[in-house]
């Protein structure tokens, strides 16, 4: 029997944690990484590790629960990992994965879609939508928990959780390290979420490596400044080599062609930065390379065979993290 923290006398994932790790995520929305505190993050990681290790028998933890996946934008990893996570915990899944064959194509609003789904007795909504603010809007429109699986260029909090989980596993720590973020920092939704999550940790230095047009958004800079995080913008590509030896992790992002309001601007910056063997030769031997995927041409396949390539393991970590989130948010059941 699996149950929420605080219950006792049963087999309980949370029962193996110290007392301070109560299930603070039960019934909560996951909208922004700013909403997490350090304990929430440790809790998700702890449960993910238990699930990954196979110690916890969670196959039926969500039996009788319904999870709705509403994806109004393309997705491979996030959709599939949420789908597999929910099914493997015993939940039923309702999905809208191709808006072109749903009533959204007829002009149905997101609000109406969500109210309809909620009416089917769904226990949790996982939402991806091109609008910034869509997850918050949906969370305000329903009484059930909402998980943001990507709100336009704004945030992607579950990606940041699996990114940080990967850093913890590979680097052995999530404090006191230096990270380079390279590529499209302006339209990437993973970058703000990762910055917000890293700002909860100590001694993290961030180098934003991108041309001015693709530099990190002002609200992210403001947040980091308010949290006292040390960061630096590296605008000139020739400076990147100088920064490389300082980095423990290099996080690469795809240039998001689909989010450019003006495609001529895209043409100016595409292929600006490419991570290959030559660039990595300037870095530390054990430098970890991460990428939320999909990649286009910013990360050379020649890197794949190196121990520095963390990105496939990073993608795999999506499953235990999303299982842990669903388990915690929906509380587990007898």
């Amino acid at each position: 029997m699996l149950s929420r923290g605080g219950d006792s006398g049963n087999k309980n994932i949370l029962g193996s944690f110290p007392q301070q790790f109560e299930n603070t995520l039960a019934g909560r929305d996951i909208i922004s990484c700013r909403d997490f505190n350090r304990e929430d993050v440790e809790l998700v990681f702890g449960v993910a590790e238990e699930i990954e290790s196979g110690v916890a028998g969670v196959e039926d933890a969500l039996r009788g629960k319904k999870v709705a996946l509403i994806f109004a934008e393309p997705s491979t990893r996030t959709f599939q990992s949420f789908y597999v996570a929910a099914k493997s915990l015993g939940a039923d899944v309702i999905s809208i994965h191709d808006p072109s064959i749903s009533s959204m194509a007829k002009g149905e609003t997101l609000y109406d879609t969500v109210k309809m789904i909620e009416g089917y007795g769904v226990d949790c909504i996982v939402l991806r939508h091109p609008a910034r603010g869509s997850a918050k809007f949906v969370a305000e429109s329903t009484s059930i928990p909402v998980i943001n699986a990507g709100s336009g260029s704004q945030e992607h909090p579950t990606q940041a959780l699996l990114d940080t989980f990967t850093i913890k596993k590979k680097l052995g720590r999530v404090d006191n390290f230096s990270m380079g973020m390279l590529g499209d920092l302006r339209f990437s939704r993973t970058i703000p979420s990762l910055c917000y999550l890293l700002s909860k940790h100590d001694g993290v230095r961030i180098f934003f490596m991108a041309p001015e047009l693709l530099q990190v958004r002002r609200e992210v800079e403001l947040h980091l400044s308010q949290r006292g995080v040390v960061f630096r913008k590296v605008v000139k590509s020739e400076e990147i080599r100088e920064i490389m030896p300082e980095l423990d992790v290099l996080y690469v992002t795809r240039i998001q062609k689909e989010r450019f309001p003006d495609l001529t601007e895209y043409e100016k910056v595409k292929g600006s930065y490419i991570v290959d063997m030559k660039l990595l030769s300037y870095g530390k031997k054990e430098l970890g390379v991460m990428h939320p995927l999909p990649r286009v041409d910013e990360l050379s396949p020649e890197v794949d065979s190196l121990p520095n390539a963390w990105y496939f393991e990073q993608a795999r970590n999506g499953l235990p993290i999303r299982k842990a989130l669903l388990y915690l948010i929906l509380g587990g059941v007898a």
């Binding site: 609003t109 609000y111 910034r132 709100s151």
Partner: protein, 158 residues
């Protein structure tokens, strides 16, 4: 007797918005959204553009006969036009009003981020901003986009 007093009669009750930066009175009117008021009301509006001012050199003045600006509107005006003075007139007597600053601005500003959910016309999402005076910005509560306080007039709804 000052120049504008010669031009415009006194108010028995209403609001006088003084020391508006020259040629910005239209933005003030847009913020007040007077067109939405009941058509049968006896409100009259006098706008003076670019009149001489000891304090500003030139200024605009808006006189609202038989209309009291709400506290919420007064706070937003004080935020966007810090040099403006707001005077309530009751029974011919002038009361200088010093509103505090708003913590939030709801439904008055369009989000400058075109992909914000509040810019999806058919979605019932009302734009809400948190005021961060110390950073000189307001922040969209839905999409996190920052808007400089000085640029608010460019994004007023209505």
């Amino acid at each position: 007797m000052s120049g504008e007093s010669l031009l415009v009669r006194k108010i028995d009750w209403g609001t006088v918005l003084d020391h508006i930066p020259a040629w910005r009175a239209n933005q003030v009117l847009k913020l007040l959204n007077l067109e939405s008021l009941n058509r049968s009301s006896d409100i009259s509006v006098i706008v003076l553009y670019n009149v001489p001012s000891k304090k500003l050199g030139r200024k605009d003045i808006v006189k609202l006969y038989h209309h009291m600006v709400s506290e919420e509107e007064a706070k937003i005006l004080a935020l966007v036009f810090p040099q403006m003075t707001i005077n309530y007139i009751r029974d011919w007597k002038v009361e200088k009003h010093s509103p505090g600053l708003p913590e939030k601005i709801i439904g008055k500003i369009r989000c400058p981020e075109t992909t914000c959910i509040t810019n999806y016309e058919r979605e019932p999402a009302t734009p809400r901003y948190i005021v961060e005076r110390e950073h000189g910005v307001v922040v969209c509560e839905y999409c996190d986009t920052l808007l400089e306080i000085s640029r608010i007039p460019d994004f007023l709804k209505g």
